[in-house]
Structure formats: C-alpha cells, structure tokens
Symmetry: C2
Subunit: 401 residues, 2 copies
C-alpha cells in the first residue's frame, strides 16, 4: 500500500450526528477527530467534499471460501433440503475447478472496495477437502494483512461426529491459524446434540478458542440445543466466547420461553448473528437489544452453490436487516447500521474499532445526508480507508489493495 | 425522442433461453426476432455485444405522486400505526413544498432509466389535496407519453366513506383520466366494509373502470373483506377487473380456508399484487401460481414519508421477491422475474407486451449470463428501448426521454 501516505487529514466531512469535522490519520490510527484538527507535520490532505463519515464496515458472518463471486454464473438446480445443499456443494467442489484461494481473494477485495475492513468468515473443513479451504483463505488473509482484519472460523460444513476424522481436522485448523471453532446443528445434522456439543466445547477449551455455531434448528429443537449451549458456557466459564449464528428458533418460541432464553444469553454474554432472512423466523432484534443481547449482522454465503443472493456490501445487508424488522424511522435505520458496524465489532471481538481517537483508522466516506440515507441508497464509496491506508476511491479499488 | 431512429436492428443478443438472436424494431414494434433477422430498408444497427435481451420491466404497484426521490432526505420520525402514517403524510404535504408533478416526473424517469416501460401508479385523492396529485401525474404521463405506458389508479389514501366528499372526488378523477378505481381497507380504515365496497363497486360500474384495492387487513378480517370482494366481482360480472394489492391475509389463514379462497380468486380472474415485504405475511406465491392465480410484483412506495426503502429498479424488486419466497434455483428466479414482467403485464392489463413479433418494442439489455444472474446482480442497463425508442444507454437516460 505504498500509494497511501502514512499520515493525512480528511477535511470537510460530517459525523453521523451531522456535525462537521476533520479526521487526522497517522500510523494506521485515528490521531484526531473533531472540528479543529491540527494535521501532523508533513501530513497530506484529502478534501472529503462534505461527505458523511462512517466507520469501516464489519462483516459478521460470511463464507469467502466457497463463493462464485466474479466467476461464470452457477446455475442452481439443487434440491430443497439442507442435506441436498451440503451434498451438492461437496460434489461441485470436486468437479468445478473452484479454488478457495482465488475466490476468497476476489471476494475479500470486493468487500474492501465497498468499505468492509473487518470480516469474520467461516471456512469449510471436512474429510474430503481437508484443510484446503483453510489454506486458501489463510493465503488471502496474508495477502491483505495490511488492510483487512480477518477472523477465520473452522467450520464443519458436512457435519462433525457423523464424519469421523472431522474433529481432528478441526483441531489441526485451529493449530494452523483458524481463530474460532465452528459448529453446525448438533441435533439435526450431527444427530446427537450432547455428544456433538461436548466434542465442540472440549476442542475449544483445549485450543483456548471461542466458538461460533450455525444453529439452523427451528423452534423447540433449536431451543433445546440452545439450552445445551448455554449450560456449557456457564459450566466452563466461557462467558463472552460464544456466537450463535442464525438462531432461527428464537423467532418461533412462545414469548415467555424466548425471553427467559434471551436473559440467559445476555447474562452469559453470548452474542447472536443474523442475516435477517425474509423467509425464516429470526431472533427479535429490538427485544434482543432491549434485553442487553449483542445481535449483529452478516451476509452469510454470497453467490455460492447454496444461494445465488448476496453482495459484499454491508450497507445493503443493513438495508435488508432494516426491511426484515420493518425499521422505517431514521433512529431504527441507525440500529440496522449498528448491526454491521459497532455491534458486529463487539460480537466478533474486533478490537480498536470505531470513529474515535486511538481506534484503527477504518473509515468510509459516502455522499449521503444521514446514516439512514446511506443505508437505503447504498451510494458509491467515495473513499475507503483501511488500517490508515486509502484502499478505494469512487467505488474503485486502488491497485495496491 | 428524435435521437432514436424509427427502425433499427439490435444484433448479437441472447434470449432468456440462451439462444443467440437479433431483434428488428420498426414503428415502435418488434418487427422480427430470431437467429436470421432481415433489417428493414434503411434501418440502423446496434450491436448488443452478447448481452441478455429482456422485455421492458413492469412496475405493478407504486406511488409516484408522493415520492421524495431525488430530493433532500426526509427524516422519518413517524409513529407505528397505519393512521399515524396517513396523518403524518397529509400534514407533511401541506408544509414540505412537495409537488406531485415534479416528483412523479423525476421518479418516472428513474424507472425508465432502469428499464421499466410500463407502470401502474396509485395517486392520492382526498378532500384536502383534491385532484392536485392526479393533475401532477397526468402531466408526467403526458410528458412521457411516447415512451412510458402508465396506468393511474385514483386512490383514497385517507379513507373514503370516513371523509365525506371523497367518493365524488374519485368520480371526478376517473372522469379526468384515471384508469382504475382504487380502494383501501374497507373494514379497518373505512369502518364499514359492506357500505365501503358497495360504494366502490357502484362507482367502478358507473365509470366502467376496473378496481385495484389496497387490502392490508390481516388474517380473518382480511379474509372476510376478501370474500365480500369476490362476491361482488361474481354478482356484477367483473371477472378480470379486480386486483387485490398486498392481501397480507392470504399468508395467515389455515391452508384449507386459504386454498378455497385462491380457487375462487382464480375462477373470477382476480389478480394479486405483492411487494413481498419481509416483515408481513404474504400470499403464498407458488401456491397462487399452481392454482392459476395471476400474482405479480411492485415496489409500493419508494422513498416517501411511509417508508425510506425502495428504488425504481424492477430487477431489485424481483430479487426481493425471490428472497422473500426463498427462491434459490434458476427456475425459481425466473418466476421472480416473471412477477415484474409477463405476470405484471397480464395482471395490470398492459397490452402488446413481451419478447415476440408484433409486441410493443420495450426491451432491456444487460450483461448477465441468465435471467437469474440478472435478478441477483442487477447490472447496469446497457440499453433500454421503450415503445421502439432508445431511452437509456449504459445506465444513463438519454436527454430526449
């Protein structure tokens, strides 16, 4: 990233509250932010042109290893069940020439271009692919290490207990650089929720890693699994070390049962992730927040064999979250944006985040009057700064990124 | 539209089924379409560059009179009920300097630019605004008459029976150029479903106009109103003359009751419109189609005081419809596209529509491999032809439109 000066000032921008400010960036950090910023000696200048200043976006849950982004269109003729999709994808991987390194790099660059500077990706680990996807994504993380802050979840997409050898592979993935242990539907995929979760927590403890579980299990069976999860967090002292992704069950329980679960979730500092799918039940976002639960947003898969939908633009994801929860007021749309910025950084444990002095300089400029306007209009990114480096201008990634 | 030749050939394009064709346009019509097109004498040539050829899009339900499109951002601080939104909007109209003529023209042009060549808009008629919105929209229709095929629905947004004088205004609107009679929640807004629907059908009969009703009424009350509607269609012989917009109730009834209603709806050739909102129950799209019901798509309001969401891009609306109904396969996404093309033309009664010889030449070219790809990627429109005239190129409206 030699094209970007190490110290510069962006003048003539507005904070989300409307106040006009400038921001001074030095050594990858926000050195100053306010109406009267004094540039560092030798700093160069950027005129923000009155743009809205936002923090770099946070993708809380995606799958960059398996995307078809930028490739030939994948004609989807897959059957309707979860296992149809899992088996279809495993077969497709063998025959398509798909390469996790190439694809994850293409999609990560598209994320950066659209203002995402922190990203949590789940990466398939199974007995057929072994650690190949992990190696590809580790290569992408290394390539973009100066600009994109990436967390990797070792994810047993094909099931864990049901495919012997997977636990050992997950252990190897954690040893080789995965940051988080993934898991998947211990009842409906693995078939034995207690044994599956015991194995998951044992592995996480051994490697001292947090857990992020895909919990698609609906209604009462999902609630049953969720209770098993919370019991283990409490027993092992893993407060703040679990993300439950999707948690569709929380959208389909009687209010009393749901609220009791949400209170335990808040007390154990377990976080929830939603992509806000319009065709599934979803955790009640406002109630979650009211109860003190961190709930944040992510795209889930982007244009892969599971689903053709998704773009690497967290403003669009914020819009979809807002629509899913019927958020129409500006103060509600600010919550939708929080799901792909502060709440996501908190839920994933990304450090030094935010529009404040001392934070990592991850910034996005857009021509929008307010945050709500930015979310619904999804304007071209005028400028993207990642870790203090200018990586994109007017919607185009700079060559160096 | 003097910039566009009256006769031209677009070569090197692909039909939705993948077959390479050219299309010859003369006097506003598709004169020829196929692999071996003979140009009209003196026709000029356009090279489609291998693009996908789609029919012009159809917006089945929007409100171009009340949009804030292209204006200053409207900060939404509105309360949560339907009446909050209705009253807020009426107050805002008085104070905002909003002008239905200017706004409807700006939004209609944005629709054209993104490939929409046929559009049904509801226009507010009430005892405060009188016919002012209608006059504005009639002006826009006149301005764009050579390119945009517009249907105007006279819509009692503030209620009908509950605001004396509204019935007479609706009659005047129909006399002055509105094509369709609108209506709104006869039980929950008007408070008297039988009297309200009797007045609506009497007015429609007198003016020999079809009806398009906003039916937000949920569950069993919506089903009650729907039965009253169907009874009147049958009694008055108004088969094929009613659109029920939204019809949230059809997403929340026991299957047996719902299916009996859908069978009557199909037999009476009543059509359904959905914007596929992710936070409401919606008519079951596939079941509707299986039962022979025409169900089509529309944006509803775009960036107005009701809702900040929406863009005048029917590919994005098709994507949202696809997401709402969990359509992931390519053949399912083709159905989502049908909702904003053929099905919408059929539901609204737009004539001479489609990719066939003799139809009005309404065409869109996009760089996409398939229809499904176009829906999820929403690429820039390479070329838009409306009524045989080139109105937009590479995402930009030509000056003449």
């Amino acid at each position: 990233m030699k094209s970007s000066p190490s110290s510069f000032v962006i003048s003539n921008v507005r904070l989300p509250d409307g106040s006009p400010v400038a921001v001074s960036i030095a050594d990858g950090r926000i050195a100053d932010l306010g109406p009267n910023v004094v540039p560092q000696p030798g700093a160069s200048a950027e005129n923000g042109g009155g743009a809205l200043l936002l923090p770099g976006f946070v993708e809380g849950h995606t799958h960059i290893d398996k995307s078809n982004w930028g490739r030939e269109w994948y004609p989807n003729e897959v059957g309707p069940t979860l296992m149809d999709r899992i088996n279809n994808e495993r077969n497709w991987r063998k025959t398509s020439g798909h390469d996790a390194a190439t694809q994850s790099l293409a999609l990560s660059r598209a994320f950066l271009q659209a203002g995402t500077t922190r990203l949590r990706t789940h990466v398939d680990i199974d007995t057929e692919a072994g650690l190949r996807h992990l190696e590809g994504v580790l290569g992408t993380r290394q390539t973009l290490r100066d600009v994109l802050d990436m967390q990797i979840v070792a994810f047993p997409q094909s099931g864990m207990l049901k495919r012997p050898g997977t636990v050992e592979l997950l252990g190897s993935a954690l040893a080789e650089g995965a940051d988080v242990l993934g898991a998947l539907d211990p009842a409906l995929i693995d078939g034995d929720p207690v044994a599956s979760l015991d194995a998951t927590f044992e592995l996480a403890e051994r490697h001292r890693k947090p857990i992020d579980i895909h919990l698609h299990e609906p209604g009462e069976v999902g609630a049953f699994t969720l209770k098993l999860l919370l019991d283990r967090v409490a027993a092992l002292g893993m407060q703040g070390q679990l993300v439950v992704s999707h948690a569709f069950c929380l959208g389909a329980l009687p209010e009393r049962e749901r609220d009791a679960l949400l209170e335990r979730i808040a007390n154990l500092r377990v976080a929830l992730l939603t992509s806000a799918p319009p065709s599934r039940t979803v955790p009640p976002l406002r109630t979650c927040r009211d109860k003190g639960v961190t709930i944040f947003g992510g795209n889930d898969g982007i244009r892969d064999t599971w689903s053709p939908y998704g773009v690497p633009d967290m403003l669009e994801r914020a819009m979809l979250i807002g629509m899913r929860f019927d958020m129409r007021r500006d103060d509600e749309l600010a919550i939708a944006f929080d799901c792909v910025s502060d709440a996501a950084a908190r839920g994933c444990g990304f450090r030094d985040y935010g529009l404040r002095v001392g934070a990592r300089a991850d910034l996005v400029l857009v021509d929008a009057q307010t945050v709500a306007h930015a979310v619904v209009a999804r304007p071209v990114r005028k400028l993207v700064v990642a870790n203090g480096k200018i990586v994109a201008r007017n919607g185009a990634l700079l060559q160096a990124a």
